[in-house]
């Protein structure tokens, strides 16, 4: 979750009004890092969002036709859907694509009150959320039609954005209560993902028989996922406290796609297979600057984290599609993409929890750390103390928790004008699909956990087990320890039910071709409803209660593409 900072503001809010002058004093910064704040993978930390795993549609024509392209002959960009489809090239072609996006959102449900402590609540109102606007390149491509071994063939080389890190948003909520001396405080949070994963693809396609073509893509994928989050608390326009978080990690992969197109007069049928591979997440870096702590506002933490390297397996996916040329002016197309993300696994270094109590008589004085196997010194210490079973196993594989996602795409194209020198097509389409996002659900998930917080409740259960089993040898104590480990690995939350986020995308656009030059403009609108945490914090030292919101969001993409034929 990019909202890892959100709940930290509660600490600052406690003394907000009594300490205004103190807020201006010098702030002492303590730098802390693992193991006090454990490292996890990007997936476990929630940094992977709903939009950064699936490949984007590409090409003005296909994009405007709802993202259909498996059986639509096209230029170099068509390799994204089906490598055999690039046989639509009939001259050397250079293309480029760029997009601008923005959006709007609203909360469908938000709690009236936020719980700060066991007894303190703040009234919450006027919750607003707005997706941020930004821009991104999409592709540069080169396509060359050739004759290969006596048959029609084509090569394509492209640099393209496979997926953005995500779409950012801004959230605001008004809080009021005894803790704020009944004054109105505005809590704001901005989330800005940047960059993403790109690919260099080399495609070759060739006609096999008059009715069938084959093609293959070789994709070298790589990039940096970046995300910045900033948080602030303001009263009467004055920002009293602020914090920030940043995350980045490199991602790379190599993948192969294969595809075929069969044509029977005006009818075309196509299919593609995107072979399974691993996404390698490496060299992560995380920095969290907390809001200065109340009541003196003179002390904050700089938390340095290093997200664990991980490999996320991408399952083999496939797509099928068809297109039909009703006349030389009208083409209809439909695609289906099957993406079984539910078969995706994460492999990373093994981590083990270490729970201790500063005061053995007081379970509230707990401290907690996740020790990765790469921390050899501490790992060996825990192993020597009998805290780790099978310490020689230093790698862990587990289900990624992602749901299967599918995509149905339907589109059409109509040439208003079509002549030797000039073409003017209009296009429209619709795309129904879901995104591989983990939906988070608030615990308490262990019905036997006591206390109003699942995490502290689980700590107490573990503590009680230790009273009767100091060596934690029994199954019950081990189960409590495993439960704590799972919570710690996944941000102290349990992912009870992972449901994909359903999206509906409506597309429309037009193109202009004048002789060797063509340009396309496409407008896409994606609507979805999603549950999210707000004011959430997964730090065990602070442990506030997250609030679950239900939001409706729309994202608008305006895509420009241009081609020149030589």
């Amino acid at each position: 979750m990019s909202r890892i900072l959100a709940g930290l503001f509660f600490v600052g809010l406690l003394g907000l009004f009594s300490s205004y002058c103190d807020a201006q004093t010098n702030i002492e910064v303590d730098t802390v890092s693992a193991p006090l704040f454990p490292d996890r993978t990007a997936a476990e930390n929630g940094w992977l969002s709903r939009f950064n795993l699936d490949r984007e549609p590409l090409g003005g024509r296909s994009r405007a036709m709802g993202g259909t392209g498996v059986a639509v002959p096209g230029g170099a960009e068509s390799h994204v859907y089906n490598p055999a489809a690039i046989l639509g090239l009939n001259s050397l072609e250079v293309g480029s694509e760029f997009k601008i996006y923005s959006g709007h959102g609203r909360a469908l449900a938000f709690p009236d009150q936020l719980q700060v402590t066991a007894t303190d609540y703040l009234d919450a109102s006027d919750y607003r959320v707005k997706p941020r606007g930004a821009s991104s390149y999409n592709s540069l491509s080169l396509g060359v039609p050739v004759s290969l071994l006596g048959k029609q063939a084509a090569f394509a080389l492209s640099y393209r954005r496979v997926a953005l890190t995500g779409y950012g948003d801004e959230s605001r909520v008004q809080l009021q209560g005894a803790l704020t001396s009944n004054a109105q405080a505005i809590y704001g949070e901005e989330d800005l993902p940047r960059q993403g994963m790109d690919a260099v693809s080399f495609t070759v396609a060739r006609s096999i028989i008059p009715q069938a073509d084959l093609g293959i893509n070789l994709n070298w994928e790589g990039g940096t996922l970046k995300r910045n989050t900033s948080t602030s608390v303001a009263v009467l326009g004055n920002v009293f406290a602020s914090g920030s978080a940043s995350f980045e990690q490199n991602v790379s992969a190599f993948s192969i796609d294969g595809g075929t197109t069969m044509h029977f007069g005006p009818l075309r049928v196509g299919g593609s297979v995107y072979l399974g591979h691993d996404l390698h997440f490496r060299n992560g870096e995380e920095r969290i600057t907390t809001i200065p702590a109340a009541p003196t506002f003179d002390h904050r933490l700089l938390i340095l984290g290093r997200p664990l390297d991980q490999d996320l397996s991408v399952p083999t996916m496939f797509s099928v599609g068809t297109s039909y040329e009703l006349s030389h002016r009208v083409t209809l197309a439909a695609d289906f993409l099957y993406r079984p993300w539910g078969h995706s696994w994460i492999t990373r270094t093994r981590v083990e929890p270490f729970v201790g109590f500063l005061d053995p008589a007081d379970p509230t004085t707990y401290f907690f750390a996740l020790i990765p196997a790469t921390d050899t010194e501490r790992w060996n210490q825990l192993a020597a103390a009998g805290q780790i079973s099978e310490p020689e196993i230093k790698e862990d594989s587990f289900w990624s928790g992602l749901p299967n996602t599918h995509s149905i795409r339907i589109g059409g194209e109509y040439f208003v004008k079509k002549s030797a020198k000039f073409e003017f097509p209009v296009r429209a389409g619709v795309r129904l699909e879901n995104m591989p996002q983990r939906n988070l659900y608030i615990p308490s998930v262990d019905p036997s956990a006591t206390g109003d917080k699942a995490y502290t409740g689980a700590i107490q259960l573990f503590y009680q087990s230790l009273q009767t089993d100091p060596g934690c040898q029994t199954g019950q104590c081990q189960a409590q320890k495993d439960y704590l480990k799972r919570m710690a690995e996944f941000n102290y939350l349990n992912f009870l039910s992972d449901q994909p986020v359903g999206t509906t995308t409506i597309t429309m656009g037009f193109g202009v071709r004048i002789s060797e030059w063509s340009a396309d403009l496409t407008l896409e609108r994606t609507d979805f409803k999603v549950q999210r945490f707000f004011l959430s914090n997964f730090d065990p030292l602070l442990n506030p209660t997250p609030a679950l919101t239900f939001e409706s969001q729309s994202i608008l993409n305006l895509v420009f593409s241009a081609h020149m034929r030589f």
């Binding site: 250079v94 480029s96 390149y137 540069l140 960059q195 079509k418 030059w517 340009a519 020149m564």
Partner: protein, 129 residues
Amino acid sequence: MTDFGAEKNIKVTLRDGETVKGHIQAGSWVTYTSIGKVYRAQVDSVSLGGDIVLKRPYLQEEYGRYSLQHERMSQSLLEIPSGVERIEISAYKIVQVEEVAFDRARSARAAGFWGLTLFVAASILSARL
């Protein structure tokens, strides 16, 4: 009529409306527009008498508005089949040879395309370097 100005961009119009555009010199690639079809072809030779021979033609575009004419011509000897290896243009068919002047609309389109392409390239480089 026989001087095609090899260094110039030339448009040659034939008496049946067909055109050849490009640098008319051996080895250059030119655009040959026939009825309903546009070919890219390489100039094989240009004789002193003005005969132009094109080789390695490939069909670049075909237009539906000429489908009837094309169908009718497919029955005639005038059709140039898509699989031909040479196109011979006799000098006596040439009715006009003109230099292709600066085309503002075309230049604007090219500027738009290269502007977007360079912008995308710069965006990629700035993100990756």
